[in-house]
Subunit: 361 residues, 2 copies
Amino acid sequence: MALNRSTIAALVGELEALGATEQVAPEAGRRSAGRPSPVVRADSAGPYVVAADVGVGRIRAARILLGGEVAARATARVPDRPDPVETAAVLAGLVEELTASAPPRATLVGVGVGVPGVIAKTGGVVRVAPNLDWRDVAFSELVAAHLDPSVPVLLDNDANLGALAEHLRGVGVGVDDLVYVIGLVGVGAGFIVGGAPLLGAGGYAGEIGHMRYRPDGEACHCGNRGCWETEVGAVAIARAIGAPAEQVSHLDEVLDDFDRAPEALREIGRHIGVGLASAVNLFNPRLVVLGGYLRSLYRLVGDDVDTALEERALRAPSQTVTVSLPGLGDDSVLLGAAEMAFAPVLADPVTVLSGADEVRA
Amino acid sequence: MALNRSTIAALVGELEALGATEQVAPEAGRRSAGRPSPVVRADSAGPYVVAADVGVGRIRAARILLGGEVAARATARVPDRPDPVETAAVLAGLVEELTASAPPRATLVGVGVGVPGVIAKTGGVVRVAPNLDWRDVAFSELVAAHLDPSVPVLLDNDANLGALAEHLRGVGVGVDDLVYVIGLVGVGAGFIVGGAPLLGAGGYAGEIGHMRYRPDGEACHCGNRGCWETEVGAVAIARAIGAPAEQVSHLDEVLDDFDRAPEALREIGRHIGVGLASAVNLFNPRLVVLGGYLRSLYRLVGDDVDTALEERALRAPSQTVTVSLPGLGDDSVLLGAAEMAFAPVLADPVTVLSGADEVRA
């Protein structure tokens, strides 16, 4: 985190005094030179956040401690094109369920939510989430209306949160330039550039699914033609494998049943590599992380993706880029949402945590 | 520059003591409330840099003072596919010419060079410059070999430098998210994201000309097919207007002779807008600045560019983006190269300038 020893010591001291963490002796089996450093561990009865990953057809949520430890999970089904007000109520129900099962002394310090859509940098508004059929939805407010007013509800694009989590705790630790690409129904991306999240002027950056890929291509739900998403999105994949339309929202499970890829799927793998080459030429990342159904797909057609990317990207950036599965499995978005919700606590632990008893939902 | 008053005062004091700047009374015609602030002006006999913009067929160079004032200019012709060693000698000749005409007390503190190619973040190596036909050329070293060893020679991609200059002194002052797109023979881009230059892991970011635009498109010099550059690059434009191949390297002048755009040029304007829409969806910039021959082209087909961009970009980012001509005219790259060369001086004026008498070339 680019902090020096004394800053870390002061922060650890503050967090411990506030009951957020405890220091324990390192494991006996670990040997290293010098005095062993104490291990700081989140106190399971300390502050926590609830993180939620709003997908198509379901919301996954978890109670998460400082440091990213998942203490409890809860899931709810929602309709494929859910009403925002009802979705907010369902999500708030998951927050309550996870809060009710927490240790008595533990305190909720924030709620972080990932949504597959274009999210404004300020104000927690979903500008557009095509796969949910939402437009200009003040989703933070809708969720917060069900909770104690002092609990902040923070919102971001799911791929941005996936990128953040993979950078902080996953396969991208120590990697300052990476892209996390998520296939859900559409395809989105979050970028870490020079060690910081890429937001863009309004927070809308990362819409990789809407790179122009084929000028005369198929109509895209965004109103245009030939977006990359029309070639490598869930609808195109379902068609390639002859899967019925209702499987589009859980394509990852469908793909996990394949032993080997039919030719039509390998063709999609090549289109994934060619599209990634555009992003590699533009961003020169060290790492490309594939999440959502792209995880399942990459297991089947990874060679096709890698070969097309290497052939189609410029030599200099292609020599140093690696394509990888997420280090956090299916939890990247959830853990990124937790990091976002903890950020105000880490920025100012005393103010947030000393008032924390009053912020129980 | 995000510095407070006392830091600025200290820096100004240091620079003045070292003969780099002088404070003068504000112009009589300017009226504002309160005590008039003294105006700090670069001392024309103070430290300077030589900036160079290596293009196809010519090198433009200038002696530039702190603050971006151009004190003198010099230009040299080079072959269209120039030998790197000879090009370095020509460039060093321009440095000598500009140094010879400087006031006796003035000191050269650095040389900054912009090259249309993929430049490594460290070491001053051109990995590939397709329009110069260079590959893995240690161009900084080649230039530095002709100069006093204590004069640093810094190198960057021309579009990166254009973006930097437009952000610091041009149409992008105060704009933290912008892209500067330059049409030379190929098409490149430099990005400012969150107020800082986008470099990528190795310094290779910004290769917008090699976004995949048409999978079955024309062969590109990069070895692939259907790159955006094959649709909107100088070769495509020359073909559209029936210009002979030898005009490709000075297409800006050719385009400036047109009063109105033929349909084939308007079609290219639309392809520019559609390609920019991909970049806008990925980066969500506030500003797109068009440099090189795209300046001349935008004057002719600006409406076609704007309309296609607005239609093809997602609503949220397209509502807040503006396409603009450069604020620095044809000098963006040159002034960016000067900023790069001055950066070590501004970071540590005392060390650099107190030894400056010895670094005359």
